[in-house]
Symmetry: C2
Subunit: 375 residues, 2 copies
């Protein structure tokens, strides 16, 4: 039968991002058992590296065995009990999705809304907490992948904590690419994905839970509705508890853990500050080039990692993206939700946030937009 | 930093099983985007191969983005609504786990119980359905990984359907290693794992839903409690619907799909019948050898893929398994649940169901058991 020979695309969409050869090699290393001491050592090391990248000392920091959205669901099912009131910032697809996920957990969700592309101010968040004082948690999307908006997070935890609410964050498109300080910023629970700024293939969702979140889980009256994502059981596998006892829960995705381990090693070798600066520099270079092509950013406060720009009037969205893919080997993202047909999303994530990639996409856009802007 | 250099273990536990080099190589192929036409073609092909291995024509046959237990949960959250009565066969850890998962979905679970190691007769199943005539589904574990018991399935669907109940099957440790005919046997929904008899690393859970299951899902009054596993959305991504339109749901685990595609190619190249016969032959060879060592099987109807034997009196369970791992590089499984400390579980799955592996484990057991049986 035919074997897998995927093209080597330049991945500049909203994820997956380009995966370094080192990570692909680690992915293909021989499979160990999930209770093998060698594997447990690799997993412990992976969790420790995740703590460094999240800038947290939370013991309960580990990769959920699913893609980023499994991480979102993991936080929701463990931290929400039926009847809880919660506040979710909704200014794009992913905030809306969090609302849906939390409603399925039986929560009454107060959606704090903003136009797509906008972010929330501390004043707006404080007002929402005043208006819904019984809210058990506040959830914000740090990097709204559907709009490219960059939500400031500093100070938000204090507002939430003042009302006895936990502070939850979606960091799928920011971890490893933007400044993010879980402990300094008082974030109680957070999730991300491997396939964005960590430049590991999709398949795992790194999460971290702080003390307040643990206390909330310990005080639950009901079991989480998901067995697969039940942290009260997962923690017995991921945290040995000092005595070395590990309780089997499910068969962990062994090879994906290898890949994440290696991807995190690359992040830490570069250094978080240098990596974040590299993303910023790539973004500035791209922005200047897009400006010169007459393409405008949609969000006022744009992410460095995801660049959401309006499609020029008269341009054929699908045809141009297909040309980029087929003729130049470059993948960019279509608009999502209300932005479908109106926006392009250009990712500069992890291994792909380079001068080389910026210059490639600008050269390609310059060429393919010429006829349509001229015509 | 150090890189990943896992030992090349002989994996003869309850999974993961040994992964062929071809599959590891596919796993490490360049990552594509989840909406790239090349990736969609690979995914479609993977689903078609899954249909062949499941012996089904169910269009809705795809790998859930999580390990085997995510597949279990996927069936439960989509096919159960709060208040439903269901019947679950509980004769080991995995039947018990299904009960837990279904209760978390709001089901009233009637546990049909049998001693660990036993299986259920058609008469027992029929009696349970008579006793609980409102049951909406009947769920059985084909291959109980905790006890090695091999549950016959033929005829069970008719019993369930006569009462208007769906028939659900856990095939985690049988798919690709034991006779399993989804369509001929009338199975309405089924899940498995990649890391057992398919010899792919853990991380995906192949599922299949038949027409009755689809009708049940279409008639739901409430959303499934899991967004991540909601088949009403997943089907818009996995089934293009003929028009070519694909709706993004979550970022699929691209590289794991490559690996599964290749693993299934290997299964189909060998041929299902030949593969099942190979598992049977390996089991017979192992059984004869274990007999000669005085080790007895625990279940009366043993799986070929998982061989659960009593630990000899006086043997030090943990020390002997550690010796097997450290001195011989062989992993076998400990007893699970009530079998902890009483049983060993020897897997002969997929790539590992070979004469070579049988002879290796028998030679090692002969050597390490000598002092303890002599002493």
């Amino acid at each position: 039968m035919n074997t897998i020979h995927p093209a080597e695309r330049v991945l500049m969409g909203p994820g997956p991002s380009p995966v370094p050869a080192r990570v692909l090699r680690a992915l293909g290393a021989p499979t160990l058992g999930h209770l093998d001491p060698q594997y447990l050592a690799i997993m412990d090391e992976t969790c420790e590296r995740l703590r460094q990248v999240y800038r947290t000392r939370n013991p309960l920091t580990f990769p959920v065995s699913g893609t980023g959205m499994a991480g979102m669901e993991c936080l929701a099912v463990n931290l929400i009990e039926p009847g809880d009131e919660v506040i979710v910032g909704v200014n794009g697809v992913f905030g809306g999705r969090m609302k849906d996920v939390m409603e399925r957990c039986g929560a009454t969700v107060h959606a704090l809304e903003a136009p797509w592309g906008e972010v929330f101010t501390a004043g707006q968040v404080a007002a929402a907490l005043e208006q819904h004082p019984k809210s058990r948690l506040l959830a914000l999307v740090h990097a709204e992948t559907s709009t490219g908006a960059h939500q400031p997070l500093e100070g938000m935890a204090d507002l939430a904590h003042r009302h006895g609410a936990l502070f939850l964050v979606d960091a799928v498109t920011s971890l490893g690419g933007h400044e993010l300080r879980v402990d300094d910023w008082g974030i109680d629970a957070i999730y991300s994905g491997t396939q964005k700024c960590l430049s590991c293939p999709p398949g795992l969702s790194p999460v971290s839970f702080g003390e307040r979140a643990l206390a909330r889980m310990d005080a639950r009256k009901s079991k989480p509705q998901s067995w697969y994502l039940d942290v009260s059981m997962l923690r017995k596998y991921y945290l040995s508890g000092g005595g070395g006892g590990r309780v089997y829960h499910h068969t962990a995705p062994i090879n994906m853990t290898y890949a994440l381990n290696e991807a995190l090693a690359i992040v830490l070798e570069e250094g978080l500050d240098a990596r974040i600066a590299r993303h910023a520099a790539a973004h500035r270079r791209l922005r200047a080039g897009l400006d010169s092509l007459g393409l405008s950013y949609i969000p006022r406060q744009s992410l460095h990692t995801l660049n959401c720009v309006g499609i020029p009037a008269g341009a054929d969205d699908a045809a141009l993206r297909r040309r980029l893919l087929e003729d130049y080997g470059i993948e960019i993202g279509a608009g999502l939700g209300v932005m479908a047909g109106k926006a392009w999303r250009i990712g500069l994530m992890g291994h792909g946030a380079t001068t080389r990639n910026v210059d490639l996409i600008l050269a390609a856009l310059r060429e393919i937009l010429r006829p349509s802007t001229a015509g």
